[in-house]
Structures are given as C-alpha cells and as structure tokens.
C-alpha cells in the first residue's frame, strides 16, 4: 500500500460520505491493484465554492484537490436556463471561462487538481425534444460549457478534467438520491460515490506512473474457443457465423486496440509451441498474429514461472503485468505465486471478455505520447538486437555492431512531457525516484545552478526514443560547502539498459561538472546518492560497478573531478546544448 495522499474535496454540495469512502474503503477485488494509492480526503465548506477557489484556501495542506461543482452554482447565469427564463448564452460561456480561470489559479497550490464536467440535473426532462436544439436546449448548452471548461483547463498541466458523465451513465438512475439530498445536501448515492472513488484512485495511480504495461494472455478458451492441441486450428471457434466465434474476434480486436495505445501483449499458455504458433499464423480470422506479441512462453511449465521469466526478459517489473486467463485455477495460482501481477476476475463466457477488458482501469496513464504508441515496435526491434547479441559473442563487438548514437539535449518545452512521463514511471534504474509534474519539473530545472538533460538512443534497428534523464545540482544549499556537484536524477528506461547508455549518462555528468570546475568553480567531486525503494536495486548495483567510489554505507558514490570519466566504447555521444 502506498503512503496516503491528501485530497481536498471542493464542492457546492455535501461530499462528506464521498470523503469517508475515499479514505476508508477497501477496494473491490476486480479493480484492486497492489499499488493502489491510499487517499485521505478532506472536505472544504460546501457553502463556499467560489470563495474557496478564489482564496486559494487549503488549510490541511492537501497535495490534491477535486472540484465537484454543479452548473447552476458555478455559472450563475445558467440558473435561468433551468428556470426556463431567457438567458444570455454568451454570458454563460464567459462565466464558464471565469470559473475555469478560478480553478486554474487555485490549482497552483496543488500537485494535481481534478475538475468534473457538468451533467444535466437528475431526472430532468427539461425541454425534452428541444434539449439539443442549437442555442436553446439545456443539453446543447451544457455540452458547450463542458467543452469551454475542458479547453480552458487543457493548458494547465496539473489540472485534469475527469470523465464524470461516464460514471453517471454506468450507475444510471440510482446515481442520484433525492432522500440524501433533502436530509444532508448530498445529492448522490453510495453507488455513484463508489464509482467516483475508483475513478479518482485510478487517476491518482495514473499520475503516479502506476499504469500496467504488459498484458499476458492465455490461448485456449481465452484468445479463441476450444483446445487447439485437441481439435486443430481449423476447428477453433473464432469468427465465422458463430456468436462465440465473433466474441473471441472482438476480444482479440480489443487487445489489439490496447497494443495501439502502447500496451505490450504476450502469451503464456500450456500448449505445444509449434501447434499454437501455427494456429496464430494460419487461422484466417485470427486477429492477433505472432508479430503482435512482444514475447511468449508456450510450454507445459508452471504459468507463474513463465510469467516471471517473460517479464524479466522484457525488462519489466511484475508490477507492470496483467494476466488474463479464463481458468480460475490458473488465475488463483498466479495470484498466489506472483502477488504483484494484477489478475482480474474474468467472466466465464466469451461474450463478456471484450467488456471485461475495456472496463479495466489499470492501463490509465496521465499522458499518451507517440513513443507509447510505438512501444510494441520498439520491443520488436529489441528482439532483433538480442538475436544479434546471441550471434555475436563479445559485448564490445555487439555494441559496435549496433552503431548506437546517444543524443543529449537540455530539458525544453519540446521534450518536457516525455521527460516527466519517464521520470514518473521509471522504477528500476532510478537513483532517487523523484516524482514531479511537468510544471514542477520545469520549475526545478529552471535554476542557474541546476542542469537537466534528456537522452535519446538510436541504433541501426531504430530509434528507442527519449529513454534517459540526468540532472545535476551544484553550489546550492546543502552541497556548496562540500564543493560537490550532485546527481539528483539518474533515470534510464529498461528498454536501453545493458548497452552502455548507463555509462554515457555518467560520462556526460562528469564532463559537465569538470567544465564548471575548469571555468573557475570550486567543485572537487561529483556525487550520486541512492535513495532506496522496493524496486530500484538495479540502479544501486549499477553504481557499485560504475567506477564511482562508494562510501562506507554503500549508498553514496562519488567521482573525483580531477579525472575524466571514461567515454564508453563503441557508441557516439552527441551533445546538443
């Protein structure tokens, strides 16, 4: 369980039951994650929506805030629409912009702020037939207001507009509780609050970089109907004029959609590999072919062992893995053996597979970049590199053969989003595991005694993208007296580990610090302090072997700036200042 984050609920209604649920609920198994963030909710005075936003009030020092307002209170002119009185629509949109501005200003005091769009009031038919008539209907106007709100807030990196209308749609007519409203000024039912709490937790998890990256699926009766080893690929239920066959095809399409947004796919199945791969290649209605999978383990070994091996081969921690299997015995075995792997409960019938997959919130992430979309391609290229490595015996020859170029760039608005994403999601090769939003990162780096670089890696197989981060701090409080420059962030994606990119980061750090020293600085050494987490031991092991001198505790490592750090052999380092 992660440490609690404090969230302030700012609303024009009483959200006390929601606050209690966010703070005290034990999450349902279907949506549970071992990395589920634990929240402590506080409630701002619900009679003071605008004054709270305008004053910036945050008496309990919460890191997060949720703004849950209602259109007639957030936008006073809108109340006339509810009363069927003539209303000034331009004024409504202007007031919407003012409200968005108030949220944006309020957000400057928080790490992240969630804002909810508005919905048509409960059980209101309003103008019925006219509800979506241009410039007249209530629904039309609310849609415009919501777009205005989202547009105005989109430029603020730490403000996230949550898709709350979807929560109401899922709960339906039981989302509202008139009785609770009249008794306590709480308009919503516990059903809606449970849905909202799960969504808020998913959003926090996404911001913390907790998104799952790999879906491991079984084959027989999961990806297709039937046991391929018994009946042959020609007799599998997949596609055709068959409702179950169609359902399996739809499930495969849903998995392929996940792949398109950067989630890796893999197979772990008890089967003969040749038989299973033949089915994947030959069946005319197979959507997912072998090339769609980053890896597979198709054999008769224990599935938990296979999943662990497969994740290790892909350089992914088990906390990145989701395992889908229709067999409850296999699910139970994997849950027990690998508690970090998320094993969702799974429907018995294939007609519900697609919706079960679509409902999982464990893939939510704060951003979706081009590199995410290309992740599968990047892993495919990695497979080629590993093949080359197996063919070429020595490390030196392999690195040389790859023709690698490491391009070093300063942090800028152009690479900020990807840099923040890498900073927040990297666990293993991460020296200090600092987590920062885009805005916090830029603010930290924008200091005369700090430098922050990004590293891109490409080779003859392709571009691995922005996969490394390095930051240095010198002559600031804490290190000035010690005449040292400190490596504050040392982050490397598992995609490029083991290719001497690790040493390249240190080469750049030492070279830069030596330059400062040559220009009259008093720096004597550069130091890296390892902040241990449950997952960043690989980083510690690297530093132990890096040539930097370890201290007695074995957690701080330094390099004397009188000596240059050796440039790694076999690759080109291009520094773009």
């Amino acid at each position: 369980m992660k440490p609690a984050g404090k969230i302030l609920l700012v609303s024009d209604v009483n959200l006390e039951p929601f606050a209690r649920l966010l703070t005290n609920d034990e999450v349902e198994p279907q949506r549970s994650q071992k990395t589920e963030p634990r929240l402590e909710a506080r409630v701002a005075d619900f009679g003071r929506l605008h004054p709270t936003l305008l004053s910036g009030a945050n008496p309990d020092g919460c890191e997060l805030a949720l703004i849950w307002s209602h259109p007639e209170n957030a936008v006073p002119e809108f109340r006339k629409v509810l009363e069927f009185l003539p209303a000034d629509h331009e004024r409504i949109l202007a007031e919407t912009r003012e409200f968005a501005g108030a949220i944006a200003r309020y957000a400057s005091g928080f790490k992240a702020v969630f804002a909810l769009p508005w919905i048509v009031p409960a059980a209101s038919r309003a103008l019925g037939l006219l509800n979506f008539r241009k410039d007249e209907g209530l629904s039309y106007l609310l849609a415009r207001m919501n777009l205005e709100l989202a547009d105005r807030l989109s430029g603020h990196a730490n403000v996230h507009v949550l898709d709350s209308p979807a929560w109401f749609a899922r709960i339906g007519e039981k989302a509202h509780s008139p009785k609770l409203w009249y008794l306590s000024k709480t308009p919503y039912s516990s059903d809606l609050f449970r849905e909202a709490a799960a969504e808020v937790r998913a959003a926090v998890r996404a911001l913390e970089g907790g998104a799952r990256k790999l879906v491991v699926v079984d084959l027989d009766d999961t990806l297709w109907g039937g046991v391929v080893g018994d009946i042959g690929w020609q007799a599998l239920r997949l596609g055709g004029h068959d409702y179950l066959g169609e359902a399996y095809v739809d499930f495969q399409l849903a998995l392929k959609n996940l792949k398109n947004r950067g989630i890796l796919l893999a197979v772990v199945s008890k089967n003969e590999e040749a038989v299973a791969l033949e089915a994947m290649r030959m069946h005319p209605e197979m959507v997912l072919r072998p090339e769609d999978f980053a890896a597979w383990r198709i054999n008769w070994q224990d599935k938990a062992r296979n999943i662990a091996d497969l994740a290790a081969d892909l350089n992914l921690g088990l906390q990145s893995v989701v395992f889908i299997d229709e067999n409850p015995v296999e699910r139970s075995r994997v849950r027990e053996a690998l508690p970090e792997v998320f094993v969702p409960e799974w429907p018995q019938e294939a007609t519900r597979f697609k919706s079960a997959l679509s409902a999982l919130d464990c893939f939510d992430s704060a951003t979706l970049t081009d590199e995410d979309r290309k992740r599968h391609e990047l892993y495919a290229k990695e497979k080629n590199r590993e093949t080359l490595r197996a063919e070429i015996g020595s490390m030196d020859e392999w690195i040389k053969n790859l023709g690698m170029t490491v391009t070093v760039e300063r942090l800028s608005s152009a690479n900020l989003q990807r840099a923040a994403q890498l900073l927040n999601k990297t666990n293993q090769m991460n020296l200090s595991t600092r987590r920062m939003t885009d805005a916090e990162l830029m603010k930290w780096a924008d200091h005369p005694n700090r430098a922050f670089w990004t590293f891109r890696v490409c080779d003859k197989f392709g571009d691995s993208g922005l996969t490394g981060l390095l930051s240095l701090e010198w002559d600031t409080a804490g290190n000035e007296a010690r005449n040292e420059a400190e490596i504050r962030d040392y982050v490397l994606s598992c995609r490029v580990m083991g290719r001497r990119v690790e040493e390249s980061l240190l080469y750049v750090a030492v070279r830069f610090a030596s330059g400062l020293r040559a220009r009259g600085g008093k720096l004597g050494r550069i130091v890296a302090r390892h902040v241990p987490t449950a997952k960043n031991k690989p980083c510690l092991e690297f530093f132990k072997a890096s040539g930097f001198q370890g201290d007695a505790a074995g957690t701080a490592f330094s390099w004397d700036l009188e000596r240059p750090y050796p440039k790694p052999d076999g690759l080109t380092i291009a520094v773009s200042e």
Partner: protein, 103 residues
Amino acid sequence: MNGGTYARILETLYGAIDRVNPQLEKSRRLQKAENTPLLGDGSNLDSMGLISFTVEVEQAMLDKFEKTVNLAEILAESDNPAESPLRSVGSLAEYLRTRIEMT
C-alpha cells in the same frame, strides 16, 4: 412465515451494513449482528453515518420488498434512543417486519 420474513429483513439490513461500512473507519465498522446498536451512546454511527444507513435500508426495502418505509421520520422522532426502533439492528428488523405484515 414470520420467522422467514424476519430473516429476510435481517439479511437486507446486513446488506445495508455492507454498503455503509466502507464509509466508516475500520475500528468503527458495524457488526452484522442483531444486537449491534444503531442509535444512542453505544452506536458507531454519527449523524451522517446514521443518515447514510437509513437511506440504504429504505432503498433496499423498496428493491427487495417493494415497500416504502420512512426511517428519516423515525430518526427525527427518536428523542429516547432506548425506545426507538433504531436502537439496534434486531429492533429495526422487528419494526420493519411489523410494517410489512401490517400492509
């Protein structure tokens, strides 16, 4: 018949407890037992918790028995917790049973 209705109502109340407990701190969660106090000094429910619980019970009675009961009125009239139908889970189940069998 009476015993069966009472048992079904008790199950309904336990369902409401399951729905309200996630809002309560672990140490203050309601036990699914007839002698669990709901109102008065021994209760783990504060006023907001009591409102949430009674609304859950009202909805569950409507869903399962198609009966509208107004516990908010009883709550408002409960000057003496020791005599209120809301004094415990068991007394509430008994009150609801008589309401069902009267109509």
